[in-house]
């Protein structure tokens, strides 16, 4: 095998909440980068002893190598900054695995008026940039990528500095770009950690109550920042999708998220320049405007994420329109705002019904009904064309049936 250089003694890293979790061989620069990237999660170094933890990093004649947790492989790292980035992510994963009570949320988080605003989004949606912009605006960060959710519904910091992808877009304001340069931590040509000043980043295990859930709509073209109310179902959906609790049953996730979404304002932040967006959102939340704009009706967020729409009808199995249907027996129901969330317990699949779908479901809970009966009822109620409404109901019923959420009622007499 290829020998490793023997310039420095191997070191074991111990972290609060994790214990001994990382071995570093002959790569002190990686250790220094990690310390700078995790100012709120202070690590302790000790001479290596015993069998190496599963997570390790070393330098040999070819370069820097890190073990890939859960595999029998190692991968090469181009720089100590990338190593810090990779190791911080793996240490966060270990931290979440280590504490069964914490649900890891994939979100940016910032403290505003003693409460946390959360931005749960998928990768590359702007979480880190907005989190860093909040830091530039003088707000205290709880994280740019991971937040722990405690059983009490509070957000728990992890103590890792935000990390931006480079190069920064030229559309960022000079003020923001300058902040990221002044507060630059470990960086290479791909990533830059931005380290807030003392007190600007919450320490690991610090908690705060949640204050708002914010979905991001980032525009490339300049737009004036605005915050618009969203239906709470949008926030719940985001939480259900942007978490790291892959082993947690959906019912348990619902039990954690539903109480939050029943009182937490859910907003859409539309913005182009991050610093302007951060300042605008902070102003809205500091003034309590999120409660006011919530009363004006929800934002039009584009076409509903539906499978019952006509565009999908070709894929929808046809159902008999004159046969009665009733709810399946293995379905848990969670009302939120005007909508319903359903969990099909045998499969663990989560489904969301909009307002009209919710009415259909509630009617079926009282008695088994046919597609024709439902179509007639809804058309009459909404003063809409009966044919089109019945077609919509048939599409919906096909999807409900395919998902195992409704079953045919064979016992009901047809001649009511």
């Amino acid at each position: 095998m290829m020998p490793l250089a023997a310039d420095t003694a191997p070191v074991d890293v111990t972290l609060p909440g994790l214990g001994r979790c990382l071995r570093v061989y002959n790569a002190p620069e990686v250790l220094e980068a990690l310390v700078r990237a995790m100012p709120g999660w202070p690590l302790r170094r000790e001479p290596a002893a015993g069998v190496s933890p599963g997570l390790y990093v070393y330098r040999d004649g070819e370069g820097l190598w890190q073990s890939d947790p859960g595999t029998a492989e190692e991968f090469m790292l181009p720089s100590s900054a990338s190593a810090a980035c990779s190791l911080a992510a793996d240490l966060l994963s270990l931290r979440l695995e280590h504490d069964n009570e914490l649900v890891g949320l994939h979100c940016g988080s910032v403290e505003i008026d003693g409460r946390l605003a959360l931005f749960p989004q998928s990768s590359r949606a702007g979480k880190s940039t907005l989190a860093t912009a909040f830091a530039a605006a003088g707000y205290r960060l709880f994280g740019d990528d991971v937040l722990g959710l405690t059983p009490a519904g509070k957000g728990m910091a992890m103590g890792v500095a935000p990390r931006l992808r480079l190069p920064l877009p030229t559309s960022f304001s000079a003020e923001f770009a300058d902040y990221t340069r002044r507060r630059a931590g470990p960086e290479d040509d791909r990533y830059r950690f931005v380290v807030p000043p003392d007190g600007g980043l919450a320490r690991s295990e610090e908690t705060r109550p949640l204050g708002a859930l914010v979905l991001l709509e980032r525009h490339d073209a300049p737009v004036a920042p605005e915050a618009l109310p969203l239906a709470p179902g949008e926030g719940l959906l985001q939480l259900l999708c942007q978490n790291f609790a892959r082993e947690t049953p959906p019912e348990a996730l619902m039990a954690r998220f539903m109480p939050l979404m029943q009182h937490l304002p859910c907003l859409l932040l539309r913005y182009s320049e991050p610093l302007a967006g951060a300042r605008h959102l902070a102003q809205v939340l500091e003034r309590g405007e999120s409660k006011l704009i919530g009363k004006k009706g929800f934002a039009d967020t584009g076409p509903a994420p539906a499978v019952g729409a006509a565009a999908h009808s070709a894929e929808t199995p046809a159902v008999a329109r004159d046969a009665p249907w009733k709810p399946g027996t293995h379905v848990n129901v969670y009302p939120l705002g005007d909508e319903l969330f359903l969990i099909h317990t045998p499969s663990g699949e989560i489904h969301r019904l909009n307002l009209t779908g919710r009415l259909v479901w509630q009617l079926l809970q009282h008695e088994a009904l046919t597609v024709n009966e439902l179509g007639e009822l809804l058309a009459d109620y909404f003063a809409a064309p009966a044919g089109a409404v019945t077609d919509d109901v048939a599409t919906l019923m096909g999807e409900l049936h395919r998902a195992g959420l409704v079953i045919a009622e064979s016992s009901r007499a047809q001649a009511k």
Partner: protein, 100 residues
């Protein structure tokens, strides 16, 4: 005194009664809800999604926090060592890891 309803009359009016009852139920369920008709929709979490104005979740839950993953990979060297020479595990435990 009203006339008793014949069996024939009862079957004739029952559908109307059902309709009226359902309409009342629907009116009660819909109390306070917004007016215009929107097609009923079912959205299943986990499906791919088209459209939408903001960045929606990918619906495949992230397995771990965002991190760098390089393209150059190889089998773990230390695992190799242990597989090749199991006594190294004991040596590492008893004597501490060697400087390699």
């Amino acid at each position: 005194m009203s006339e008793p309803i014949s069996e024939h009359d009862e079957t004739a009016i029952t559908p109307d009664l059902h309709r009226q009852r359902r309409r009342r139920l629907l009116a009660a369920l819909g109390t306070g809800l917004a007016g215009a008709y929107v097609a009923p929709t079912l959205f299943s979490v986990g499906q791919a999604r088209a459209g939408g104005s903001y960045s929606r979740p990918s619906y495949s839950r992230p397995s771990r926090p965002s991190r760098y993953r390089g393209p150059y990979r190889r089998e773990r060297r230390r695992l190799h060592e242990y597989e090749d020479e199991p006594v190294r595990i004991l040596e590492d435990i008893l004597l501490g890891p060697p400087r390699r």
